[in-house]
């Protein structure tokens, strides 16, 4: 059925595709250098399982159907160009299989088309032409089969879908030829236009999955300050991988649907951030406006760095690291940190704590508590108290509760006392990278002076920074001979090893509010639930948005120090809590504790659910 022109046509289509891909390739290769290694296994596993895409059931299944419904028939048609003979039964079975797959692909594409039509907001450009083309390819294929069945009959079971089409088709060989030509032309058109339409995610998305980050999700990328980079002023300040992220985006909107800032009506949309970067990549070098203008500062400072967008992106795109890079430029490049956050940053600089209470008050919480101070003696556990644990009036109680638990479990532990400094998380998330590095290096130097096996932190933000970000610091001060645990992980160990027993009942219906930096950043979900399960009397429920979909309290990313206008994120979460009807919300983060308490307080409920740190609950139940 091939004509002499076909190889020419196919070559032309391929050449156009390659040229187009090269243009796109250059647009994202203009980013900064970055070391990334690829992962074939990861990519194959990703495609085969479709697990990440199927996180959202219906569109995930539609994608699965379309993916296999296009890929396998394409492979078979390609193989069919070589002459070989299959046993009739096998050929029939293959035909049936392809028939069903094709039908599935039609279902998939129709789902996407219908959804796209019904969806408001801003769908990505270039969706409709390739989708219609794909539908045409599938339908023309079936129609050709239908006509062919009228000319050369075949058993019904080998092509049930084709048979449906045959009922309405003529038995005309000329029409058949026409259909096949059109089918081929449509395929070639699709191939040629691949880099220019929405379908470029086939290549860019696959590449993005291939090069996906293997580091911990909670760790922010280091800033190349020695190269003179102060954050992202233009798209060229982003790395090639960050630009590839934008190239791969299909604008599915899952980031938006899970973004607490977007859901509470703030100007930020992670999707828009990525799309803006994508649009700017197409402009000539140096001609585009600053990212700070295309993406406004209101958008940048709305982010709570909760990582919901990162967790829900089916293509491993990280909108957060772009937001943070732009924040860095705002702060380091322009000196334009938000006004409300400046006193806190200054307190960090002068006093080493967010409250500006200074080192001399850092151990006030431990007054009359007999808390051992780290000295020359090696200990098992270094209890990292953190600024909230040391200064926040409510969270100090949690620190004391932790001390009670450690003493009960006869753990050899100590604190750094007045020498401890802020871990640097609020500074880093607000873009003050230089200040973060100062604090981190001071803390690391301190760690190197003492001998201990584990660091246990109460605050998930400290936990994340100590565990995931300190080891990556370039001067490599950290010996790395200790492990960093969150209090919940360590307390679970104590319970499982029966070093402590939970005896006294805490009678309440409770649910866990997953802190972002414990859950999404570090995958610590189970310990919280296991501990809650071990507390007698506690009946555990789950919130609707829980685990990896857990909803942020609104306090992370330095938002704890920023003014929030409009609907508050903590109010949204508080409403969800109130609707769930639980009597107790258990969390494991000082920010969550304050924000949820405040959110629930603002609702003026008749019976307000209590908000408590899990460590406090454990201490209450301690036998």
């Amino acid at each position: 059925m091939f004509t002499v022109f076909d190889p020419l046509l196919i070559t032309a289509a391929l050449l156009v595709m390659i040229a187009g891909t090269a243009v796109r390739w250059r647009s994202w290769q203009r980013g900064r250098k970055e070391e990334r290694s690829g992962d074939w296994k990861g990519l194959c596993g990703y495609l085969l399982s479709h697990r990440k895409i199927m996180r959202k059931d219906r569109s995930g299944i539609a994608h699965l159907l379309l993916f296999w419904g296009v890929l396998l028939p394409l492979a078979v048609i390609f193989l069919a160009q070589f002459s070989f003979v299959l046993p009739a039964k096998l050929a029939g079975a293959l035909s049936l299989f392809l028939n069903l797959l094709g039908a599935a692909a039609i279902v998939g594409i129709l789902f996407f088309l219908v959804r796209r039509m019904g969806k408001d907001g801003s769908p990505p450009e270039g969706v409709l032409p390739p989708a219609v083309l794909l539908l045409f390819i599938l339908l023309s294929g079936f129609e050709a089969q239908g006509v062919r069945l009228n000319i050369v009959p075949a058993p019904l079971w080998t092509a049930p879908v084709g048979a449906l089409f045959s009922a309405l088709s003529p038995a005309s060989p000329l029409f058949l030829q026409l259909l096949i030509r059109m089918h081929l032309l449509a395929v070639l058109l699709l191939v040629a236009t691949l880099p220019f339409t929405f379908l470029r995610h086939v290549t860019a998305g696959a590449l993005n999955v291939y090069y996906k980050s293997k580091g911990p999700r909670g760790a922010l990328r280091p800033l190349a300050m020695e190269e003179g980079c102060l954050g992202a002023k233009t798209v060229e300040d982003l790395s090639w991988k960050q630009l590839l992220d934008a190239e791969a985006c299909v604008s599915c909107g899952r980031c938006e649907e899970n973004c607490p800032a977007f859901l509470s009506g703030k100007p930020l949309s992670p999707r828009k951030v990525i799309r803006t970067i994508l649009n700017q990549m197409a402009t000539p070098r140096g001609s585009h406006p600053l990212l700070g203008e295309a993406v406004t500062t209101e958008e940048l400072w709305s982010c709570t760095t909760c990582m919901a967008c990162v967790a829900h992106c089916p293509l491993y795109i990280d909108p957060l690291d772009k937001v943070v890079d732009m924040r860095r430029y705002e702060v380091l490049g322009k000196g334009a940190a938000p006004v409300e956050a400046r006193p806190m940053l200054r307190n960090l600089e002068l006093f080493g704590d967010v409250n500006g209470k200074s080192a001399s008050h850092r151990t006030d919480w431990a007054l009359n508590q007999e808390v051992p101070l780290l000295s020359g003696q090696p200990v098992e556990v270094l209890l990292w108290v953190g600024c909230s644990g040391a200064f926040h009036p409510a969270y100090r109680e949690t620190t004391r509760a932790m001390v009670r638990i450690l003493k009960k479990g006869q753990v050899s532990f100590a604190i750094l006392g007045k020498e401890e400094k802020c871990c640097g998380d609020p500074a880093r998330r607000l873009g003050e990278e230089a200040l973060f590095l100062d604090l981190a290096r001071e803390n690391i130097r301190l760690f190197n002076r003492f001998s201990f096996k584990k660091i246990v932190t109460l605050c998930p933000h400290c936990f994340n920074v100590l565990k995931n970000e300190y080891p990556a610091l370039s001067d490599n001060l950290l010996p790395g001979n200790f492990e960093v645990l969150h209090a919940s992980q360590f307390v679970l160990e104590l319970i499982e090893q029966q070093k402590i027993t939970l005896k006294y009942p805490v009678r309440s219906t409770a649910a866990i509010h997953d802190p972002c930096y414990l859950g999404r950043a570090n995958g610590v979900y189970e310990p919280l639930r296991k501990i809650a399960g071990a507390v007698p009397g506690l009946v555990l429920h789950e919130f609707q948005r829980t685990g990896e979909s857990g909803f942020c309290c609104g306090g992370g990313g330095g938002r704890m120090w920023l003014h929030e206008s409009g609907t508050h994120i903590n109010t949204l979460r508080a409403k969800e809590i109130a609707q769930s009807g639980v009597g107790l919300v258990s969390t494991a983060c000082p920010y969550c504790l304050t924000m949820l308490e405040d959110g629930l307080g603002g609702l003026e409920l008749e019976k307000r659910p209590k908000v408590r740190d899990l460590i406090d609950i454990v201490a209450d139940s301690l036998g």
């Binding site: 409300e340 806190m344 009036p393 704890m560 120090w561 003014h563 206008s565 304050t594 405040d598």
Partner: protein, 329 residues
């Protein structure tokens, strides 16, 4: 010999002036203890009793220059009068406390006399005879710089940040010799005083207001805030609020006190219906005198209060306002 500029409001000297005299005494001891501390007072119609308040604070001598022209601060006249005084008796230092007026006055005098001026001083040292070393914050307080000045040939002018000045306890046994001179301007001034427009406390930046009245969730909804505004008017105070109050759009964001708003340190803050969460107190902890009114006797706000009143604000405030109005009338 050290001279000190005494600042007063209708004959009432402020704490900074007493602190300045104490500082002058320390400085006098550092340079050998010889000579006198003389307070220079510029004003009109001051009573001898009010001038005698300076003696117990450590002034050896009070020189009161009287003139109708000194009713209000006027740079040219003050400068002329003070330069005349400073050129007599060869004082080695002239001390003043930083204020809007002295920021204008100090450079005038320094330029007029051709003498060194160090402003925003927080600490002093005398490294050797004839030299003074002053410390002052620069770069928004991030670093301190040392500034040296030579004492020969006339007075070194030092302007202190008032926040570092602390007065000594008054010693009633001490008395200063008081001299009164009347003064007439020799030159005609190009500046005429037409009118003095006082700042409206209601429109003051909350960070600059000396008295703040703050309301919290306990004040109720918008209409519940009217006694708060009334109280502020009586006290000449500026109104502030906690975050929920700003969220409810009762006050604009510019009036928010706390972690996500403004940090204030007024001389007096009255907290009405505020429970005192850490996020609020972080913005007002440095206030001088703190009054808290709250129904809940266990409210955390009381930990910060110099005066705590357990009462319903809506019962207490009308009484308080009525009493304040009575006193005013």
């Amino acid at each position: 010999m050290i001279r000190v500029l005494a600042r007063h409001s209708e004959g009432v000297f402020d704490e900074a002036t007493f602190g300045l005299i104490a500082e002058a005494r320390r400085l006098l001891a550092d340079i050998g203890g010889e000579g006198k501390v003389t307070a220079l007072v510029l004003g009109s119609n001051l009573s001898p009793e009010s001038l005698s308040a300076l003696g117990p604070r450590g002034a050896d001598e009070v020189l009161y220059l009287e003139s109708k022209a000194f009713e209000r601060y006027r740079g040219e006249l003050f400068c002329e009068a003070l330069c005349e005084l400073l050129s007599k008796g060869s004082p080695s230092f002239f001390l003043m406390a930083e204020s809007e007026e002295t920021s204008d006055l100090a450079p005038r005098i320094a330029a007029h006399l051709g003498r060194p001026l160090i402003n925003r001083v927080v600490d002093l040292k005398i490294p050797r005879k004839g030299e003074v070393l002053a410390f002052r914050p620069v770069l928004n307080g991030y670093v301190f710089e040392e500034v040296a000045a030579q004492c020969e040939g006339g007075p070194v002018i030092l302007s202190f940040l008032p926040s570092v000045l602390t007065a000594d306890e008054p010693d009633a046994a001490k008395e200063a010799t008081i001299r009164t001179e009347s003064w007439m301007a020799t030159k005609t001034s190009g500046v005429r005083l037409l009118e003095v427009i006082e700042a409206d406390p209601g429109s003051l930046e909350i960070e600059e207001a000396p008295i703040v009245v703050a309301g919290g969730r306990g004040m109720g909804k918008a209409e519940g805030f009217s006694p708060l505004f009334e109280l502020a008017e009586c006290l000449g105070a500026t109104v502030g609020g906690t975050r929920p109050v700003i969220d409810a759009a009762i006050l604009p964001f510019e009036r928010q006190i706390g972690q996500t708003g403004k940090s204030v340190a007024p001389k007096l803050i009255v907290n009405c219906g505020i429970s005192g969460a850490n996020e609020y107190t972080a913005g007002m902890e440095k206030s001088l005198l703190v009054i808290a009114i709250n129904k809940d006797p266990r409210a955390r706000m009381f930990n910060f209060a110099d005066l705590g009143i357990v009462a319903d604000v809506h019962e207490l405030l009308p009484l308080l306002i009525a009493r304040l109005k009575e006193i005013k009338d």
